[in-house]
Subunit: 429 residues, 2 copies
Amino acid sequence: MSEYRGYEGNSLEFLKANKIAVGDSVKIIADIAYSGIIMPRYEHSDDKHIVLKLKNGYNVGLEIAEIKNIEKNQDTEKIIEKSERIEKIEGLPKILLLSTGGTIASKVDYRTGSVTPVLTAEELNASVPELAKIANIDAEVIFSEYSENIQPEHWLQIAKKINEYSKSDYAGIIIAHGTDTMHYTSSFLSFALAGFSIPIVLVGSQRSSDRASSDAALNLIGATKFITTSNTKGVYVVMHHDENDETIACHIGTRVRKNHTSKRGAFQTIGDNPAFIIAENQIQKNIKEDFFKINEFYPRINLDTKVVLVKYHPGYDPGLLEKIIEMGYKGIIFEGTGLGHIGRTMYDSVKKANEKGIFLGMTSQCIDGRVRMTVYESGRDLLNLGIIPLENMIPEVALVKTMWAIGNSRNIEEIKKIMLRNIASEISN
Amino acid sequence: MSEYRGYEGNSLEFLKANKIAVGDSVKIIADIAYSGIIMPRYEHSDDKHIVLKLKNGYNVGLEIAEIKNIEKNQDTEKIIEKSERIEKIEGLPKILLLSTGGTIASKVDYRTGSVTPVLTAEELNASVPELAKIANIDAEVIFSEYSENIQPEHWLQIAKKINEYSKSDYAGIIIAHGTDTMHYTSSFLSFALAGFSIPIVLVGSQRSSDRASSDAALNLIGATKFITTSNTKGVYVVMHHDENDETIACHIGTRVRKNHTSKRGAFQTIGDNPAFIIAENQIQKNIKEDFFKINEFYPRINLDTKVVLVKYHPGYDPGLLEKIIEMGYKGIIFEGTGLGHIGRTMYDSVKKANEKGIFLGMTSQCIDGRVRMTVYESGRDLLNLGIIPLENMIPEVALVKTMWAIGNSRNIEEIKKIMLRNIASEISN
């Protein structure tokens, strides 16, 4: 790794002039005093800042014009100290913070420049001192994985852990989670723990840690405020609403999708406003009181992973569908085109899949809107071949629901019934 | 089919009282006189209208309260007559209208209630009399398919047909196309015919024909105005911008996606404004003069369909990737999570695919935003395994481009070079 990786122009000269390189532990006097490690940069758009990783694990971008003094620390060894235990204030609501990894719980390895998920839940809590004023937070690490490595077995692990607290005195449970697959996990929890007595809130950090700003703290504070003020239950994803530092969006766990690779407001409720918006300490509710109809809690923490998502496109080889059938899959979710179509080249293989008792569900690659298979000849043909139109279920949610439905059913008829029953607002009007 | 399919309440009673049923050819006096066929309805939200299919092939919703008289026509036989030839006005620009099918070129079979693509290009032209005032339009049918049945061989057919007119005196070429896969076709044409001397404009009709309103005419007029006033070249998709009847959006053929199953403004330019907006006869240009850098026209109308789109998700079975390798695929486009990730369970199979010389490209299922594989460990691992990050290319576009690149290359190095070269604005800043 280059000593000045990613720095150029003014910021590069500044570092060289001060004999400071990437990875150095430094003390900086600017508007206030900072102590931390000089981070590498991957963006080349700005030569006015240097990026410092603070001891609490979060990054800050410092404008070099504002820096009055910079010098190397002596303690280059132990970078992130064990945070002290936060004092608890009596009478505040209790929240359980479960960490599963991801950017939100990550520190940067300054030797390789990469971000690794090693911050403990306790450290995460301690790194955001504002939290202690809103709630008393107990923290626990379930595992530490970036979310692209989260698999259905992790969903089960998280659901089982949450289920241990179904009769606790917590006001809610926060799951710190990588953002990449957060909406898959929130879907599974929505089905497996439908009717859970307190809100379950997934929270992540979208702004990757090599950037000058992290949204981890704000999202965590938002999740905590949401639990203490929303007076609701269900599974939510709580993230930045937009680029505005003040606004937090609370999305229903089955209606949300990561729709941008990098920006803060990447998560969106599909086809609707977020269920709640928190802005300037005000909470705005966009859903009705009786939103979550299932009130009785009956956990069904099972799944079957023999489900595949088939995104249809021109040139899709039906031979691939044949392989899927041969491999013993039990469910196929089509991401069809438009209102829910696939080309007629697929019909023979679809017929075969149906005859084998494979569950066949139709969603749309348009993402937004509802499948409607009665308008065109081809849609009707597909209905006749046994494909079930899944209303406006988001394809990824339909995939997760099918895994869950198969894991909790005895036969195909039961699966079909569950798939069309609205369990956790995965189907909306 | 029920005689009154889809009608209920007031509209059902109205039909019964007048002894009129679905499929009847009628004459109606309301604000003006209408002649057409009573259409079945699939929506049950409204009992105030009846839907009439006019002789020109388009639907109109008539409020029953406004109907002064309704009676059966005698000519129940020949419903859509051969349109007369439109008079051409000397001096107007010449446009070629090629029809490939889809809702825009469809009539409804009133016996089955289904929409079938049978309207000829000449009829399509004649059904929108406004067109003749803007341009002299020659019309031709290439084939008649709904777009879910359009396959890569159809793309070749369309491209070859267009290529016949590379030295014609047409001001532009309009392709009437089903909306479901219009953006796949526009992508292929963008690559295969990069640098074509006149604009190529795909136009469809999003509002399905069983509804009370069709946007076919407005989109066609928009496409015609676009060609005669935009002074540009390249491949575009021209469709309604939003629910507003007046605004037409012109999207770059490689940056557009159908993002809603049914609404008029379903097509969106990803991550940017549409290249042009036509509103109230004004054309607003949002792209720079030198937008299309490739000026020399050198058609490359080839492709190889041995390319597959792999949308990664938790629980994705690497065994499926193994099957894809065994089946002799030459290219795999991953729709990874977030910034371009797939789980580490996939690594062994990805390594094998790379060793076999399969082209491996990474896009994001977030759709919007850019893949960036240097931020996290897992991204770096994937780069080392030979996966090529495809910037902000839309997954579907990356798929089409890979088919095209493989069809026009001699080896994997050439494919990689083509894939990262910005040919038709498929990569943007």
